[in-house]
Symmetry: C2
Subunit: 194 residues, 2 copies
DNA sequence: ATGAAAACGGACCCTTGGTCCGCATTCTAT
DNA sequence: ATAGAATGCGGACCAAGGGTCCGTTTTCAT
């Protein structure tokens, strides 16, 4: 009942801020060099607006990240195979990891900003919990696979934003090559030979 | 010839700063909460001394890290098996990873500070290059193992400081359990069954 | 139309990394 | 021992950036 709908200038500004932040993070080289004042300026908005809407810097980054992430999330939760739920673990694990990796490659600046937040570890973010949970369950559904918890962490760690940036951004590994290598590693781990 | 030896108050202060930093990082919960002024105060030294000796914050952390790391480094480079060079890859890979993991567990606050530096990625640090290089070479010396480069990165990523902190520090996974899990993963990856 | 509630914005504050420069300490040469 | 050069010291100082305050403006419901 107390669902008061927000004022329209508020929603407009919120969108403007998200757009500005997205662009700024995508352009600049180190996420640290994007300042809140910059974002506010590009969005054509006062600094306070930005803090009122998102709480603080990490709040803004989280919100932006979550927004960009939504397509993948729904594709995983209710999409068609091989990403969706109606897929046997053996195929879904690599599919999921590939999706995560692609996302990280395409949005590596943003991911870098998120993981480099410093303060709180990336392991407490909801989306990480989601990915890790699904991955762990899938792994444990693979015959002969014991505890999937750590392996899930390890596989996700192979898609860490700064590693992606190092390989793809700095050392110019091609997107396809990196996907292939992660796929190979995944296959090796899933292989039945105890 | 131009090897002018440093003044003794300089070396004393340098040591004091390293000790202070070590203690502060070990005690406080988030590395971000230990400030340069704090370190200087605990070391009983002016702030400028600290910057003169180490350049900047990351310089101090690097120096401290490298110091604590030296025993492991020499154990790897010229120690006895299973860590030293006279070990077949199949045993040396797990040994090396275990050593790295143990170090990260024991010095996780410090490692957290180092990796969370934000500015420059951890992948440019010399010690990372060293570890990755050795690991990659070892992997490629394993029969039937193709390109070890990415796998080396992935294995090291499983020992990332914030993951260690999450598992051991937050979720109270025992040290032995984590070692066992990393060992299991390593074994799985090394297993010959293509 | 109108008044209250919500949002705005930019001046302002505060912490923190990093610098400057006059003073103290140490080393060297005699 | 001592003078003087060189090196190092320290705390006041600066700049940048995250976050807040509050008088003003916009929106919304009646």
């Amino acid at each position: 009942m107390p669902e008061r709908k927000p004022r329209k200038d508020a929603v407009r500004n919120r969108a403007a801020v998200l757009a500005a932040a997205d662009e700024l993070f995508a352009r600049c080289e180190s996420p640290g060099s994007v300042t809140m004042a910059d974002v506010a300026a590009v969005a054509g908005v006062g600094k306070a607006t930005l803090f009122r809407a998102f709480g603080d810097r990490t709040g803004l980054i989280h919100a932006l990240y979550e927004t960009r992430l939504e397509p993948i999330r729904t594709a995983i939760e209710e999409g068609p195979p091989p990403l969706g739920p109606d897929t046997p673990p053996q195929q879904r694990v690599p599919a999921l990891l590939d999706a995560v990796l692609c996302f990280k490659i395409d949005h590596r600046h943003l991911a870098l900003a998120l993981e480099g937040t410093g303060g709180d570890s990336p392991y407490r973010a909801e989306h990480y919990e989601r990915w890790h949970g699904t991955l762990r369950d899938l792994l444990e559904r693979v015959p002969g696979f014991g505890d999937g918890d750590f392996t899930a962490h390890a596989l996700l760690a192979a898609t860490r934003a700064d590693l992606v940036e190092h390989l793809v951004g700095q050392r110019h590994t091609s997107r396809e090559r990196m996907r292939a290598q992660l796929a190979a590693l995944t296959a090796r781990i899933l292989a039945p030979g105890n």
